[in-house]
Amino acid sequence: MSELKENLKAQIIEQLSLEDLTPADIKDDAPLFGDEGLGLDSIDALEFIVLLESNYGIKIADPSKGREIFHSVNSLAAFIESNQ
């Protein structure tokens, strides 16, 4: 699980072109969206959808679950583990 989280952090940085950040800057449980975490927005949610499909072959069947799935690295990793 920890390896998956580290991979996810690196992929988030690359996918979103967050060139200022390193994986160490992203906490497992910090909110990814909004001002408290990485400051991501709805456009970046599209990037997560692309990331999940291209790197893990996972499609989100229920878009209303997106907010819950994309909350943090922890929630993303849990979703990937349960859908692979």
């Binding site: 996918q15 979103l16 456009i43 970046d44 990037e47 692309v50 291209s54």
Partner: protein, 214 residues
């Protein structure tokens, strides 16, 4: 029209009113500037370079209290550059030609005037904003537009020349020159204002102190 405050940032350093505030050691000097200013604004890290430089140069002005007077009187925004969003355009092209997917987060920055939106979000400024593409810094254009803004009854205008250019050898050249103009001050005519602007930018580019007392 009178320039009350100016800032300039490039890889060579950060300057406020002609005085050097920071020098940079890192290749990612925009991140270094962010850290030196002590900013805590996560959205910064996902911005394109034009927006990052504009936010930083504006924060420099804020750091000295020069923008406090605008809290109840938001400025108009007047910006320009020569190469639009070329740097981000190239990254966006790379996202779909080499990485397989057009990146939405890059796409939103494939217009240079997005930087005025970033300023509006950061400072809650909702006044008029304009962005020109001109072959080089055109002080006469700024003077003319500011003259008309003053005639319309504006009080303040935050202006900027913000450039992020990638040449044929992939060398990136970047600079951001901001100047805050009091529109109600009638001490300078358009031609002398334009000449002062040219001299100020030249001084910044040459690393000399800018003279604001014009």
């Amino acid at each position: 029209m009178k320039i009350t405050t100016s800032s300039y940032i490039s890889a060579a350093g950060a300057f406020l009113n002609g005085q050097q505030k920071f020098t940079f050691r890192e290749t990612n000097w925009q991140k270094e500037c962010y850290q030196q200013l002590g900013l805590d604004y996560p959205k910064f890290h996902k911005m394109d370079h034009l927006s990052k430089m504009t936010v930083l140069a504006t924060e420099l002005i804020y750091s000295e209290g020069h923008l406090n007077a605008l809290m109840d009187d938001e400025p108009e925004l007047l910006f320009a550059n020569a190469n639009a969003s070329q740097h981000t355009d190239m990254k966006f092209i790379e996202s779909y030609t080499q990485q397989g997917n057009p990146s939405p987060s890059l796409f939103v920055y494939t217009l240079p005037n997005i930087l005025t939106g970033e300023l509006a979000i950061r400072h809650k400024w909702y006044g008029e904003n304009t962005f020109f593409i001109t072959p080089q810094f055109d002080s006469s254009l700024f003077a003319e537009r500011l003259y008309h803004a003053a005639r319309k009854g504006g009080n303040w205008c935050l202006c900027g020349w913000v450039e992020s250019k990638v040449d044929e050898k992939n060398k990136v050249t970047e600079e951001c020159f901001l100047f805050l103009v009091a529109l109600t001050d009638n001490t300078a005519d358009r031609s002398s204002f334009a000449a002062a602007l040219d001299e100020l930018l030249t001084n910044y580019r040459n690393g000399n102190s800018g003279n604001l007392n014009r």
